[in-house]
Symmetry: C2
Subunit: 112 residues, 2 copies
DNA sequence: TATGATAGTGTGTGATGTACAGTATTGTCA
DNA sequence: TGACAATACTGTACATCACACACTATCATA
């Protein structure tokens, strides 16, 4: 049972950084929080509302996303789109992520 | 200048979880802290002593690594090797890591 | 009419890489 | 031979963020 706790913790740590990249990649076109949760879920990324909404707000605060309200529908929705600054950071983060991946793959191949 | 701070933070977050996987992958054969730093550096993973030594101790405490002192040389060295439990967790973590990677690659391809 | 779905806000907690600080000894170089 | 870099390790506080908990509000459906 303890193994699961350790794995869950480690997987959660893996998510840090990765979630940001996933959200930035998903924000090339405008999308709103609740919809993004379903989109990411379909892609294989399980994320709770309690995690995504604060993340969106933090990324906007940091200037990586821009938001606008759409109140024309019966339900008001906050749309997010990546900013120019966000695009630069997304690309840098993706490069770092890629480098890390190549390293891990190299180690996996060597390790066996 | 602020961009760099954000990127540095995000890259650090990326490391969380990834470092654990890298260390577990690197511990199929016994190796000691100081040497591991150089090995990982050569592979492209920059890690400080202040980060690696506590990490090794934590992983041992969690039962993922086993250690033994080698005092035959002029310098005593603490060798670490992955435990059976650690192998299970390494494999699980690698699977999760792989899943996440496929998702990110899918998003990258779709995003453009 | 009740409840699930839809859509969002607010805030505290636990885990971990980093940073700072330290000890100790060996090996190398001037 | 002394200074210093390299080698090898331990201890601890801090910043950050996914998660968890709590909440509001309204629409759609049974």
């Amino acid at each position: 049972m303890k193994d699961n706790v350790i794995i869950d913790n480690l997987v959660q740590e893996l998510k840090r950084g990765t979630l940001v990249l996933a959200v930035l990649l998903n924000s090339s076109k405008p999308s709103y929080g609740y919809s993004m949760i379903n989109t990411l879920k379909d892609l294989g990324i399980e994320i709770e509302q309690n995690t995504l909404y604060p993340l969106l707000r933090r990324l906007e605060k940091q200037g990586l996303l821009e938001s606008s309200w759409d109140t024309t529908d019966s339900r008001p929705r906050k749309y997010y789109i990546i900013s120019e600054m966000g695009k630069g950071i997304r690309d840098s983060l993706y490069n770092e992520w890629n480098k890390t991946n190549k390293v891990i793959e190299t180690m996996v191949v060597k390790g066996e």
